[in-house]
């Protein structure tokens, strides 16, 4: 019998809370994390809202200017090679280790690995490249490279925590941390690792957010209460957000031996690509449909057994429609009717970290016994006909849930999580 995996620790730095209790409260009470923002000091920009990270000040390219909650101890040696989202990530990892009752020293055992996802820091890349041009290449910050490029999370976290197992980064845009989590599950099933840290993180600044405005993918609705409205007829784009989430996945027997607290079991995953467009979802969600079916098959469950789906739905007109059609095909067409919500109505879209963040939300839902709602949904799109989209959070304890993610290039990843014990 192949090893199984359970989730034993979570850490959150998100727009809806900077610890598990705050995030759980926000999910249950539909307390959103979106705020008005002004990017690049330009009030004329049409993008007016973002999912902001509170308690942190990381607007400067210099770590000397950064401020973060006093409960975290970040030495100069850590700070000097971090991007803004790296600071969030270290804080999330610290929380997750404490949550899983692990010490930092315990994860340098070689049996623990680390998979990460972030887009790097375009903000810091711009800063360092501008500096390089200013001196015509004569000098540069020695930490500029490892602090800013994609991979900065795994470089830094592996070094800080002396991780000697599998370490790597995933780059599949908004599906990245879902790939990371799926591959972490495979490593545990194959017996290669006993424990995996999966971390997703993103900066929240103009350099990360505004390139999506060029794609016309961002909402221009200035109202934080309604700008992110997945599946709604009036949706007009997504609201960008960031932060960091760390999820600790452990081989179930190893977790049991050490008496680890367990949120849920990760019982399967699947992935499939649209093979369609570099930046737009397949119009009928073909890849996502295949990914959901593969995840169900991997977990050995039928569509009718899934009680809740945390949808990827980001609030873009095309993407939400594709996902709705894929959900109808996988569930409605076979008579299944799980509750479905997109928590991005509360958080905004956290890009590459969204997959692991929403898997963590599913873990909370399974352990705490609730189903998150669709915070800002007023009138569902006609493409959602037949889908059960609760507005408020429900005090219903799901037994099996699915988590969807999609990214550029048509990458689609789905996870299946089960209540533990069943």
């Amino acid at each position: 019998m192949r090893p199984t995996a359970v989730i034993t620790g979570l850490g959150f730095i998100t727009s809806i809370g900077n610890d598990r209790a705050a995030v759980t409260h926000s999910l249950r009470a539909l307390r959103g994390g979106l705020e008005p923002i002004e990017l690049l000091g330009n009030p004329a920009l049409p993008v007016k809202v973002a999912g902001t990270v509170k308690e942190f000040t990381v607007e400067s390219p210099s770590w000397r200017d950064w401020r973060y909650p006093e409960r975290y101890q970040l030495s100069r040696e850590k700070l000097r090679s971090l991007a803004p989202h790296g600071v969030y990530a270290v804080c999330a990892v610290e929380q997750a280790l404490e949550d899983a009752r692990l010490t930092a020293g315990a994860i340098g055992d070689g049996a623990t690995g680390l998979y990460c996802a972030s887009a790097g820091s375009p903000f810091l890349i711009h800063h360092h490249v501008r500096q390089m041009h200013a001196v015509r290449g004569a000098r540069g910050d020695p930490m500029g490279l490892v602090a800013s490029i994609a991979g900065t999370l795994n470089f830094n976290l592996a070094a800080f925590y002396h991780i000697r197992g599998a370490v790597g980064g995933f780059s599949a845009a908004c599906a990245s941390s879902s790939h990371a989590l799926g591959c972490a599950l495979d490593d545990i099933r194959l017996g290669r690792q006993e424990r995996m840290l999966v971390v997703g993180a993103e900066d929240v600044n103009a350099e990360t957010i505004l390139p999506f405005a060029a794609l016309h993918a961002l909402s221009t609705n200035p109202d934080p209460a309604s700008a992110s409205r997945p599946f709604d007829r009036q949706r007009d784009g997504f609201v960008a957000s960031g932060g960091a989430v760390c999820l600790i996945l452990e081989e179930a027997e190893a977790a049991r031996r050490r008496g680890a607290p367990v949120y849920a079991a990760l019982t399967g995953w699947g992935q499939a690509s649209d093979g369609h467009s570099v930046a737009v979802s397949h119009p009928e969600g073909a890849g996502l449909r295949a990914a959901m079916r593969r995840a169900l098959a991997d977990a050995g469950v039928s569509p009718g057994e899934i009680e809740y789906v945390n949808a990827h739905a980001t609030s873009t007109p095309a993407g939400d429609r594709s996902e709705a059609l894929a959900l109808r095909s996988v569930f409605t067409d076979v008579g299944a009717r799980p509750r479905i919500s997109s928590t991005k109505g509360l958080t905004g879209h956290t890009l590459s970290m969204s997959g692991v963040m929403e898997a963590a939300f599913c873990s909370l839902a399974l352990r705490e016994g609730f189903i998150p709602g669709n915070a800002s949904l007023v009138e569902p799109d006609e493409a959602c006909a037949g889908l059960d989209l609760p507005r408020a959070a429900l005090d219903i304890a799901p037994g099996l849930v699915m988590n969807n993610s999609s990214g550029f290039g048509g990458s689609n990843v789905c996870h299946v999580l089960r209540r533990h014990p069943p």
Partner: protein
């Protein structure tokens, strides 16, 4: 008043987190090419990059203090010191040059010579 939008402010801004005496020494080094003031800035920058600040309480930062063995600077911290001083004084320091710098005194003398060789009075 410093202005981060001017070249003058941009250089002084690099020292904005440093004690007042270091910032004043930098201003003197710029205005009058004051070598003693340059020394104060160089030592201040070195001490700022010491990872374990508790070490400083037990060390008098004289010329004999070794950057690695006594101050605990690793190769990355030394590279950061070099970058910081290059930016501050608008000089270029090669890898070969820095390999010979092992103590506070070495660094102090090295930067003095570098500025003198290039007839540089740093532009604040």
């Amino acid at each position: 008043m410093e202005s981060s939008s001017s070249p003058i402010g941009a250089k002084a801004t690099l020292l904005r987190h440093f004690p007042g005496e270091i910032r004043e020494a930098y201003a003197r080094s710029c205005a009058a090419g004051d070598s003693a003031a340059v020394d104060t800035v160089v030592v201040g920058v070195l001490l700022d990059h010491v990872p374990d600040k508790a070490k400083l309480a037990a060390i008098a930062p004289d010329d004999s203090v070794a950057l690695v063995a006594d101050l605990g600077l690793d190769s990355i911290a030394i590279a950061q010191v070099v970058f910081f001083l290059e930016d501050l004084f608008e000089i270029n320091i090669s890898n070969t040059e820095i390999l010979g710098v092992r103590t506070i005194g070495d660094m102090r003398v090295f930067i003095r010579r570098k500025l003198a060789d290039l007839s540089i009075v740093p532009r604040a």
